[in-house]
C-alpha cells in the first residue's frame, strides 16, 4: 500500500480527478501527489485501466403497466457451473415487471411467490413454459418482510442436476432475484425446482432428486425444449 508519508487520496477524488471534474488547483495538487506516491498512483492506474469497460445497457422504459412500477431489464455476464454452462442474468430491478403472478410456496411465516423470467434476444417473458438454446432465466421471489428465507434452485435435465449458484439467504421483498441465473444447456426438457425455507438451507441432495425426492417447501416448474 502507500508509504507512511502518504495520506491516501480518496477514491472519490481520484475518480473526479480522472474525469477532470475538480478545480484547477485540486487537479494539479492530485497530479503532483500521484507523481510522488506509488500507492495512490496504482489506484489511479486501476481507474485508468478500467476506463474501457463496457457498461451494461441502460434500457429504455417499457410501456406503462397497470401499476406505477418501474421497468425492468436483464443484463448478462458469463459464468460457468459444473454441470451445465450457464449465463448469469442480472435482474436489475426488484419490483419491476407485470403484476405479480407466479406460484406460491407456503412456508412458516407466510407465502413465498416464485416467478420465472426468461430473456430471449432482448425480450422478456414472464412465467414461460418453454425454452430454447440461448435463453436466459432468472427466478424472483416475493414475500413479506421481515421474513427471510433460504432459497436454492436446481435445473434438472437428462444429464442430471445442475445448481447454478449457491444457497442464498433472501430478505423478503418485492421480486427479489435469486443471485444465480442460468441458461439451460443440457439435453431434453427441463425442470427447475426451487426450495425455500425460513429456518435452514434446503437439502441439495433432496433437491437434486426433483419433485419425487424434494421435501420441505418447494416447487418445480416444467419447461419444454423447443
Amino acid at each position: 500500500m502507500e508509504t507512511v508519508s502518504c495520506v491516501p487520496v480518496s477514491w472519490l477524488r481520484l475518480e473526479r480527478h480522472a474525469l477532470g471534474e475538480l478545480g484547477p488547483d485540486e487537479q494539479t495538487e492530485i497530479a503532483g501527489h500521484l507523481a510522488a506516491c506509488p500507492g495512490c498512483r496504482a489506484r489511479a492506474d486501476l481507474i485508468a485501466a478500467d476506463g474501457g469497460r463496457q457498461l451494461p445497457p441502460l434500457p429504455a422504459a417499457p410501456p406503462a403497466r397497470s401499476t406505477a412500477r418501474p421497468p425492468g431489464w436483464l443484463t448478462f455476464a458469463a459464468v460457468s457451473t459444473t454441470a451445465a454452462a450457464v449465463l448469469l442474468v442480472v435482474w436489475a430491478r426488484p419490483g419491476s415487471g407485470p403484476q405479480l403472478g407466479g406460484r406460491r410456496i407456503a412456508v412458516k411465516g407466510g407465502d413465498v411467490t416464485i416467478e420465472l423470467v426468461r430473456e430471449r434476444s432482448g425480450s422478456i417473458a414472464w412465467e414461460p413454459t418453454s425454452f430454447t438454446a440461448g435463453d436466459r432465466f432468472k427466478l424472483l421471489l416475493t414475500c413479506a418482510p421481515p421474513l427471510r428465507v433460504y432459497a436454492d434452485l436446481v435445473v434438472l435435465q437428462g444429464d442430471g442436476p445442475a445448481f447454478p449458484g449457491t444457497t442464498s439467504r433472501i430478505g423478503c421483498g418485492n421480486r427479489i432475484p435469486l443471485p444465480s441465473s442460468f441458461r439451460i444447456t443440457g439435453p431434453g426438457d427441463a425442470s427447475i425446482c426451487v426450495a425455500v425455507d425460513p429456518d435452514t438451507p434446503p437439502s441439495r441432495a433432496r433437491l437434486a432428486g426433483g419433485e419425487p425426492a424434494a421435501t420441505g417447501p418447494h416447487l418445480c416448474l416444467h419447461l419444454d425444449r423447443r
Binding site: M1, E2, V4, C6, V7, P8, V9, S10, W11, L12, R13, E15, R16, A18, L19, E21, G39, I47, D50, G51, R53, L55, P56, L58, A61, P70, P71, W73, T75, A77, L88, V90, W91, A92, R93, R148, R169, G171, P177, P179
Partner: protein, 162 residues
C-alpha cells in the same frame, strides 16, 4: 443517458469494492440510474451519486452476516495505511466482525467512506452536509467500539500490511 455513461463506471467500481461482486454491483448501479430516469435530479453529480450507491450497497448488505462479509473482504483496506486511518488500533478481522454488530447505519456509512473509500473527515463532512466535528465524533465512536472490543476479542495472528 449521459449521466450513466459518465459516472456509471466510477459507481460500478465503487459498488464492486463494497460488494466484491460485479453482477450485484451492476444490478445496484442500474437500479440507481433507473430511479434517476424516473425521478430526475438536477444536482446528480458524482458525490451525490457516490453517496446514493453507498447507501444502496449498505442496504444490500444490511444484515449482519453480510456486513461481516464486507468487513472480512476489506480487512486490509479497513486497517488503512499504517499511521493514517485507524490510528494505533489494530483492527483485525475478528474485531471488525464484532464491530459490525454494534454500529448504527450512519456510523457504517461513515466507516465505509473513511476506511474503504479513504475519505478524510473533511471530505465526509462535505459529502454528508454535516460538520467535521460530527464526523470526528462518529469516527471516535467507531474507534471507541474498536478499543472496547479489542479488550474482549482475542487477537488473531498478525497479517502483513504492505
Amino acid at each position: 443517458m449521459e449521466l450513466y455513461r459518465r459516472y456509471g463506471p466510477a459507481l460500478l467500481r465503487k459498488a464492486e469494492r463494497m460488494l466484491q461482486d460485479r453482477d450485484e454491483a451492476q444490478d445496484l448501479v442500474q437500479g440507481l440510474f433507473l430511479d434517476l430516469i424516473q425521478r430526475p435530479r438536477a444536482a446528480a453529480d458524482l458525490p451525490y451519486l457516490y453517496r446514493a450507491i453507498t447507501n444502496r450497497c449498505l442496504n444490500h448488505l444490511r444484515d449482519r452476516g453480510n456486513r461481516g462479509r464486507l468487513l472480512s473482504q476489506h480487512d486490509q483496506a479497513l486497517r488503512g495505511a499504517p499511521g493514517t486511518q485507524i490510528d494505533e488500533i489494530v483492527l483485525d478481522r475478528q474485531l471488525l466482525g464484532s464491530l459490525a454488530r454494534c454500529l448504527d447505519v450512519q456510523a457504517w456509512e461513515i466507516l465505509v467512506y473513511h476506511f474503504i473509500d479513504d475519505m478524510t473527515q473533511e471530505e465526509i463532512a462535505a459529502l454528508l452536509g454535516t460538520s467535521r466535528k460530527t464526523i470526528v465524533r462518529r469516527l471516535k465512536r467507531v474507534r471507541d467500539e474498536a478499543s472496547r472490543l479489542a479488550g474482549t476479542v482475542p487477537a488473531t495472528a498478525p497479517q502483513d500490511v504492505s
